[in-house]
């Protein structure tokens, strides 16, 4: 292979710094088998190889090809008006780095993005060159996530999609006026067009593969996007309705929410925040989870009356407190779908309950033994026995006050629903 130069380390540091604000790191959603003479495979389940000090999963080599950029997006550390160290990898340097990290089991693959140099197509061509070399020359079967350059042409997106497992185009700001205010060179068309190209590619390849089994795959793990939270005036309702409509598209797999980190605090178009809005970000992920795994419609979670998610309690509990008429739910009789709506009961627990109750009526002690945490659930269920006073025998206000007491010194808010380890 190519000789490694020490200066590659410096580039690596600079370009990892510049890429780290993209929150997506998932390596799941598709499988790729190992091939004779090739390197690696893709497992289908998310594999995190490490965790940074901020507790985030390290799955892919998340890196920029270059952090030079001709654009000036206010929320971005790499905007052209910032004075910061800049670097550019050569295609071969980046390919070698990916392979060498992969062989040592440091990573599942590559998450590649780039600042815009010269013009979108010029930049996109370089990105395509990296992934093409990985797949065609090195027969690399690890995971590849490619972030599309806004404004890139259709034929380049089409080419990239032949090699990438997942592609993404970040919306960043869901309201177009706000986007234009902060990123004058961008508009919604520059985001939604490439999304459209990816979707067309996915649908077309699906159709072809129905006819010929060996027709090439196109972005088999679908696409994802990201929205910044707290930099502009959008409500949670604006954000979640955008997510819901995106999830309605056939190829959209994940929407990520990124609490705004004031990297350019000098820019007066942006709010002065002491801390990134991490609680709000967490609540959005929980709401997103409700839409994808808990059969909630977006209008059940936020509406004109409640455009912002409750910061104090998670959105499922908030919904239950607004709708006490649906409770208590009888653990031994209720439908799976109703059990799924009980605060504190997750998908796995709901399934466990439904299979176990065929053998015997379940009591609260049985639920506890199964690892089901009753702290919240107790107010919303009845079991085989007398249970704690439920939400209707007392009142939603009372239950809320019980569940929000002494929040200080508590652990991370219910990690089972919020962690990004297996974001798929």
């Amino acid at each position: 292979m190519y000789p490694v130069k020490e200066e590659v380390i410096d580039k690596l540091k600079i370009l990892a710094e510049s890429a780290k604000y993209d929150v997506s790191c998932a390596s799941s959603g598709t499988t790729r088998k190992s091939t004779p003479g090739g390197i690696g495979n893709t497992a289908g389940w998310g594999i995190c190889h490490s965790f940074t000090e901020d507790g985030r999963c390290v799955s892919l080599l998340k890196i920029m090809l270059t952090n030079h950029c001709i654009y000036d997006c206010a929320y971005c550390i790499n905007r052209r008006s910032n004075d910061l160290p800049r670097a550019t990898f050569s295609v071969s340097e980046l390919v070698e780095l990916t392979i060498e990290f992969y062989r040592r089991n440091y990573i599942e693959g590559l998450f590649l993005s780039s600042g815009v140099v010269r013009n979108p197509d010029y930049t996109m061509e370089r990105l395509v060159a990296v992934v093409r070399d990985l797949r065609n020359i090195h027969r690399f079967n690890g995971y590849i996530h490619l972030k599309t350059i806004p404004g890139a042409s259709e034929h380049l997106v089409q080419q990239a999609g032949m090699y990438a497992d997942r592609m993404s185009v970040n919306i960043e700001i869901s309201n177009e006026e706000n986007l234009k205010m902060l990123a004058p060179e961008k508009d919604h068309a520059s985001v939604f067009k490439p999304m459209q190209f990816i979707q067309q590619g996915v649908l077309q390849s699906r159709e072809e593969r129905n006819k010929y089994k060996y027709a090439p795959r196109f972005v088999p793990a679908g696409q994802s996007t990201q929205m910044i939270v707290g930099a502009t005036s959008e409500t949670d309702k604006d954000i979640l309705f955008t997510s819901a409509s995106l999830y309605g598209r056939p190829s959209m797999k994940r929407v990520y929410y990124s609490g705004y980190i004031p990297v350019n605090s000098y820019d007066s178009r942006l709010p002065a925040l002491k801390q990134p809005p991490l609680v709000r970000e967490n609540r959005l992920y929980q709401a997103d989870w409700l839409m994808r795994f808990y059969e909630f419609g977006v209008d059940e979670i936020v509406d004109d009356k409640f455009p912002m998610l409750d910061q104090e309690v998670d959105p499922k509990l908030a919904w239950a407190l607004r709708h006490p008429e649906n409770f208590p739910v009888d653990i031994n009789k209720a439908d799976y779908h109703d059990i799924l709506r009980v605060p504190g009961i997750g998908v796995k627990s709901a399934k466990l309950i439904v299979v176990s109750r065929r053998f015997a009526r379940l009591r609260t002690t049985d639920l506890k033994k199964m690892g089901i945490v009753l702290k919240k659930a107790q107010y919303f269920i009845t079991c085989n026995e007398l249970s704690a006073a439920n939400v209707n025998e007392t009142s939603p206000t009372y239950v809320r006050s019980l569940l929000t007491q002494s929040k200080v010194n508590k652990k991370q808010p219910h990690t089972s629903q919020t962690t990004l380890i297996f974001p798929e």
């Binding site: 490694v4 020490e6 590659v8 380390i9 690596l12 540091k13 990892a16 710094e17 780290k20 604000y21 088998k33 190992s34 004779p36 003479g37 090739g38 390197i39 690696g40 495979n41 497992a43 594999i47 995190c48 190889h49 490490s50 965790f51 940074t52 000090e53 901020d54 507790g55 985030r56 999963c57 390290v58 080599l61 998340k62 780095l97 060498e100 990290f101 062989r103 040592r104 089991n105 440091y106 980190i261 801390q275 990134p276 991490l278 466990l352 299979v355 176990s356 065929r358 053998f359 015997a360 379940l362 049985d366 033994k369 199964m370 690892g371 652990k411 991370q412 990690t415 962690t419 380890i421």
Partner: protein, 254 residues
């Protein structure tokens, strides 16, 4: 109290099940060859491990259980947890004594116990798949040390075999002093007389490939640059990456 003594092998345990059904009396306790006999034992029965008997029990289970459940029993064995042999014993007894399947009855302590123990082993298996860090030796062999709580090494080799089919590797369990070597064709067990070649799981620098140190340093530098300092959260990090798994992680070594 009836006590069975056996050689602490999986085949021995299955033989014990066979013998118990044969003599229609079931032990309340299982002990190993060198364990002290409990004071309150009324009878100690010595199990002679017999491959034929253990095979019959295993294939009997195959007829009654879904393959996931049978795998779970093997996982429970690999957990090496105190009392896991008795747990398997009780579970198997229940399976054979009941006409109907007990596999899904999670309100039963033993069924739940098997599931939870197997889950712990499975979790650690996945963690090991994530946390293996290969170091490249001069002869192009990739070496990694692990020290899991459970004996899950054998469960991860197939993953690495298909992923790194074109590179030779050794994954070595320093706690149990054995490893597996993949030679591009087959996987075989290896042991080492002593660990000077990889003190603390780290390959001796003299044995390393020329560029190994550079890539280790790059990985460390990369790992460091990734942290967003506004979001530092050591608790969350500890939850995903418990202290005991950190010693062989390249990025956390100095």
């Amino acid at each position: 109290m009836l006590v069975f003594r056996y050689d602490k092998s999986f085949d021995g345990l299955l033989t014990a099940v066979f013998d118990a059904f044969n003599r229609k009396s079931f032990p309340e306790m299982l002990i190993g060859m060198n364990d002290i006999e409990p004071l309150f034992a009324t009878e100690i029965f010595d199990v002679m491990t017999d491959d034929e008997k253990s095979k019959r029990v295993w294939s009997g289970l195959k007829k009654k259980l879904m393959s996931v459940s049978q795998n779970m029993l093997a996982y429970v064995w690999l957990s090496e947890e105190e009392g896991s042999d008795m747990l398997i014993f009780r579970y198997v007894k229940k399976v054979f004594e009941n006409e109907q399947s007990v596999e899904m009855n999670f309100a039963d302590d033993d069924v739940l116990g098997v599931r939870n123990t197997a889950k712990r082993v499975n979790t650690e298996k996945h963690r090991m798949i994530e946390f293996v860090r290969f170091q490249k030796a001069a002869d192009n062999l990739y070496f990694a040390a692990i020290s899991p709580d459970t004996n899950c090494l054998a469960l991860i080799t197939s993953h690495f075999r298909s992923r790194f089919a074109d590179q030779q590797w050794i994954i070595f369990d320093t706690k149990r002093s054995y490893g597996f070597h993949y030679n591009l064709k087959t996987i075989s067990e290896v042991t080492f007389e002593n660990d000077i070649l990889f003190k603390d799981g780290r390959l001796d620098e003299k044995l390393m490939a020329e560029d190994e140190k550079i890539f280790q340093n790059m990985w460390k530098a990369y790992y460091k640059s990734l942290t967003i300092k506004e979001r530092i959260n050591p608790k969350l990090q500890r939850q995903h990456l418990p202290q005991r798994y950190r010693k062989y992680l390249t990025e956390l070594q100095d």
